[in-house]
Subunit: 143 residues, 2 copies
Amino acid sequence: MRAALNAARDAGAAGEVPVGAAVVLDGRIVAVAGNAPRALRDPTAHAEMLAIREAARVLGKDRLTDCDLWVTLEPCAMCAGAIAHARIARLYYGTNDPKGGAVEHGPRFFAQPTCHHRPEVFPGIGAQQGAALLRDFFAQRRR
Amino acid sequence: MRAALNAARDAGAAGEVPVGAAVVLDGRIVAVAGNAPRALRDPTAHAEMLAIREAARVLGKDRLTDCDLWVTLEPCAMCAGAIAHARIARLYYGTNDPKGGAVEHGPRFFAQPTCHHRPEVFPGIGAQQGAALLRDFFAQRRR
């Protein structure tokens, strides 16, 4: 989660909403990414999506079976869907997102009977640090 | 929808599940893509995602306000989330997908109170052709 938090911090410094993600296989970080929809001019460029795509590229396959995803914020529906498509084994995430989250909020994607793959889910990991990054970012924006 | 159906047919010929999508702005096709997770070794490479990302690249911005998305199959949660992030104005889709769809099935993403952008939705456009492509594809696989 430290790598994901660092990526979130870097994203915030670059003017993006500070969210970071890392894909880990056998205790080794395969891919790390920060949120970058503005920099990449890509509405799908959430940290989780970029980390999953990079991990798939590095590992040379479209299924990340046995990989874990660490992310500083509760994933949205797009990212939760991608996590299922990628067959991520375990999802560790930080701060809850009552507005945009899709794991414990809104569509609760992994709880849907139609969900074809459910990772093990571990919420609240590094939640304070992740939340502080977001709070500081939006506080600065409001000035 | 003709362009999306052609892209779906090409995807099927390449061994991918035959789904195609097109982004249209002011009656002009900005991007067309077929489903390609295997070819690209990318679990996020659904037709809608590729078309949205390409349209954002072509238009040079991360919001596709005023753009319409045409897709041959009901979008999944990942793609529905991306459609909302991209601020797609109108969504035209073909075949219903009771197993993986997230518009009229499962998470019914656009009906969630937390959904931050809802396109106008027009289902059933070219549904017979889209369904026939999928049926033929899976029938051949089972042989």
